[in-house]
Amino acid sequence: MGRNRVAIVGAGMTKFVRRAQETAKELAWEAASKALESCELTLDDIDAVVVDTAPEAFDGVHMNSEYLSDGAGGWGKPVIRGYVGGGTGVFAAIQGWYHVASGLFDTVLVVCEEKMSSCQPHPQGAFLTIFDHTTERPLKPNLLWIFALEMNAYMSRYGLSKKDIALVAVKNKRNAADHPAALLGDPNITVEDILNTEVLAWPVQRGDVSPISDGAVALVMCAEHVARRVTDKPVWVEGVGWSLDTAYWTNRDLSYPVYVEEAARMAYKMAGITEPRKQIHIAEPYDPFDYKELHHLEGLLLFDKGKAPEATALGITQRDGDLPVCPSGGLLGVGNPIAAAGLMKVAEIFWQLRGEAGARQVPGQPKRGVAQAWGDLMQVGTVIVLGI
C-alpha cells in the first residue's frame, strides 16, 4: 500500500488555564495562529483542517467542532472532526497523518480545543452519561469511581503503595514548572504533598488527578515535498495505531490496558520498531491520573507489567533518566483540557526532537519519541511515533 511520508512542521498552543476568558472559538484561533506562525505559513497554504474537541456536553454546544471551526481556520475548506473521548488529542494527529499520507492533501492544520470550565456546577456532570443508562446510572455513579476501581485493581495486582504512584505526580508537576503554558507546575512539590491531599475516591486523592482546564493546541502537518520547502527540521510521523476494547468495562482486566498494547503494536510495526525499549528515546503517555502513566508505559511495552513504578522510583523516567517520560509535565502538571492535552503531548515530542523544548529539553538529542492518549469508556488507546 503506497503511503506518502508525512511531517510535522509547526506547533503552537495557548496557555492551559483553569478558566479562560476566551471562548472555544477564540482559543482555537490562538493555537492555530501560533502553529501557522511557527512555520511561517498562512491559512492560504492549508488544504484541509482537522478540528477535534472532546465531550460536547462541556460546552453545551451540539456540533461543537463545527461551531468553533472558524477559529480553527476551517472556513471554505474540507474539515473533519474525530472524537474518541480522552484519546482524541493523539487521534487528531493520526487523522492529520492519514489526510496527507493518502495523498489527498499536502498541508493540513490540526487543531484541538477544550473548554471545561463552562460546565456547571462541575464538568464531571458532563461525563455521567458515559455509564450504561439501565444497568449503571440508577446507582448514581460518579466518574471518579471507574478510575478508583481501575487504580485499585492495578495497585492490588502488583502490590503497589500510594507512594509508588504519587512519584509520578511529583515528577510531572516538577517538569511542568519549566513549561510556559503550564497550569500546575511546581518545582518544589514533594511526595508528602501529594499523599496529604484530600481523599476523593480512595485510592484516588486530589493530588493524583489532573486539573480541570481550558486550552487549545495546533499542529501543521504536510507532505515531504512541502516539508522540505518549509523547514530544515521536519519531524516525521513514523507510525500510528489505535484500538478499542469492549464497552462492557466490568468484564475487562482493569489492571492492564490491552487496548494500548494493541495500538502500540500497530504503530511500532509501521515504524519498524522491534525493540521499543531501545528504539524509543522519549515518551509522553497519557497521565490524567498518576497511575495512568504507569499503566500506559506498560501497555506501550516500555516496561514489564507492574514494573513501571519501580522504574519511576529509580529515576529512569526523569527528564535526565534513560527514558524521559512526560518531560512536558503532562496532564498532571501542564493541565488537562481533554482533546488539547493529547495534542500537547504530540507537540512536546515535536519540540523535543527538534531540540526546541527550552528548559524542558531532555539531554542526549533524542531521535524518536512516542505519544499516547486514552479515552472513550476507558477503552481506547491512540498512539503516534515521531522521529527525525
Binding site: G12, M13, T14, K15, V17, R18, R19, A20, Q21, E22, L27, E30, S33, K34, A35, S38, G60, Q120, P121, H122, Q124, G125, L128, D132, H133, T134, T135, E136, P138, L139, K140, P141, N142, L143, L144, A148, L149, E150, N152, A153, S156, P180, E198, L200, A201, W202, P203, D214, G215, T246, Y248, T250, N251, D253, L254, W351, E356, A357, G358, R360
Partner: protein, 167 residues
C-alpha cells in the same frame, strides 16, 4: 519555545462571583425514555423476581453478565439465558468520599466490580457494597446481594440494594 504559546487570558472564580466578567447561563431541559433492550429487558424482569441471569454464547461458551443478545467476540446471536447465583467476589472497589459535583460525604459510598458466581471468570457488574466496615473491604472478599422486599421491586438494578459480605 515561549514564542509558540499564546498569552491566554486567565480568569479567577472571584471574577465570576463578583460579576466582573460577562457570561450567559443555560439550563438544559432534555429528558430521555430508554428502551431496556432485548437482553437487559430480560435481566430486569429477572431482577424483579429476585434472580440474576446471564447469557451463554453457544460458540465460545462464555457466560456473560450483563447479558447481551449477541457475543461481541464471535459476533453471533445469543438466545440462551442462564441462571446465575446472587453471590460473588469483589474484583475491585473504591471508598468514595465525594459526590459527582465534589461535595464531601462523611460515610463513604463503596462502589465495586463484583464477579458474579456462575458467570465466566472476570465477568463482573458494577454495584455498591453495604453492611460492611469500609476498612474491612478487600479485593477477593465474598459477597451476597441484599434484595429489596419483593413488593418494592420495580425491575431495576436497584432491586438489589447492595452486596454485603458473606459470613
Amino acid at each position: 519555545m515561549k514564542e509558540h504559546v499564546y498569552e491566554t487570558v486567565y480568569l479567577r472564580e472571584k471574577d465570576f462571583q463578583e460579576g466582573r466578567v460577562l457570561f450567559e447561563t443555560w439550563v438544559p431541559n432534555a429528558r430521555y425514555a430508554w428502551d431496556a433492550g432485548v437482553a437487559i429487558g430480560r435481566f430486569l424482569q429477572e431482577l424483579k423476581a429476585g434472580r440474576l441471569v446471564g447469557t451463554r454464547c453457544a460458540n465460545c461458551g462464555r457466560v456473560m453478565v450483563p447479558p447481551r443478545m449477541f457475543c461481541e467476540h464471535c459476533f453471533a446471536p445469543i438466545d440462551e439465558f442462564v441462571p446465575l447465583e446472587d453471590t460473588g467476589t469483589v474484583i475491585t472497589f473504591s471508598l468514595c468520599y465525594v459526590t459527582w459535583d465534589m461535595v464531601r460525604i462523611e460515610e463513604p459510598q463503596i462502589p465495586a466490580v463484583i464477579g458474579i458466581d456462575g458467570a465466566s471468570p472476570g465477568m463482573g457488574i458494577m454495584h455498591l457494597l453495604g453492611e460492611v466496615d469500609p476498612k474491612a473491604v478487600k479485593i477477593g472478599m465474598r459477597v451476597a446481594a441484599v434484595w429489596k422486599p419483593p413488593e418494592e421491586r420495580t425491575g431495576a438494578i436497584t432491586d438489589i440494594l447492595y452486596f454485603k459480605p458473606l459470613e
